[in-house]
Amino acid sequence: MVLLTRKIEFSASHRYHNPSLSAEENRRIFGKCNNPHGHGHNYTLQVTIEGEPDPVTGMVLDLKELKEILEREVMQRMDHRHLNYEVAELAGQIPTCENIARVIWQLLEPKITQGRLHRVRLYESPDLFADCYRNGANGAGKS
């Protein structure tokens, strides 16, 4: 099996706020991320595909195709958007790295027809990221 990773970057705004909690609770739990008018990040997304190289083309999947899928599913949906208000798949969820990574997995997984999705890693900043992968992949998630 070979792993192939493509990276894209997008910029978006968000706010952490749960309407079922009091203003005070929101402030305590989310801190600065609860500021009323939101804030933004430059996100870096690494998408890893697993598979066997095609014997004729030598490719697990055509990178052009992956690029188009990422453009359509992620860039057009999230780039220069407000994640709380403009991304339907995130409605009702706090747009944390964990939740965005899971939504991106769910958007991409059915679209990958050659090879299969192995991991979605989303960096909110160079020091904070979330990984989403299939439970049990590479022996992980035994617990």
Binding site: C97, W105, C132, A137, K142
Partner: protein, 146 residues
């Protein structure tokens, strides 16, 4: 569908410390041969990067595996306060006996962080320099890198 997915939170921390690779179990000559420059008598230092990966359920109310403020405070207390601007050989008890290679450093940091109460520690990855990195995922897990 999401029940079949595993989510991990990754956070990177930095500290600077000195060390010297040397073991009294070997002769001076052997130490010098095996450890090379890293055996120079007065030690040297690195800017270390520690990458901590935690897994757990994403809390529906907060969207988080663990609150970052809790994780940051725990790592600060368990690792950074004790390692930053210190000599690993002299100031960290574990390295009085063991050579402070980055392999052993990964294991020691894993040991110090595995009791984090709010999520499960999956793995520690330490960059000794931009060109060298090491990972440890605990005794019972074999290279469970996602």
């Amino acid at each position: 569908m999401s029940g079949t997915l595993k989510i991990e939170l990754g956070r990177r921390y930095r500290f600077s410390a000195s060390h010297r690779l040397h073991t009294p179990q070997l002769s001076e000559k052997e130490n010098s041969r095996i450890f090379g420059k890293c055996n120079n008598p007065y030690g040297h230092g690195h800017n270390y990067v520690v990458e901590v990966s935690m897994s757990g359920d994403v809390d529906a109310a907060t969207g988080m595996i663990a609150n970052l403020a809790d994780l940051d405070a725990f790592v600060e207390r368990q690792v950074l306060e004790e390692f930053d601007h210190k000599s690993l050989n002299e100031d960290v008890p574990a390295f009085r006996e063991k050579v402070p290679t980055t392999e052993n450093l990964c294991i020691e940091i894993f040991r110090r962080l595995k009791s984090f109460p709010k999520a499960k520690l999956e793995r520690i990855r330490v960059e000794e320099t931009g060109n060298n990195s090491f990972e440890y995922a605990g005794e019972n897990q074999e290279g469970n890198r996602p």
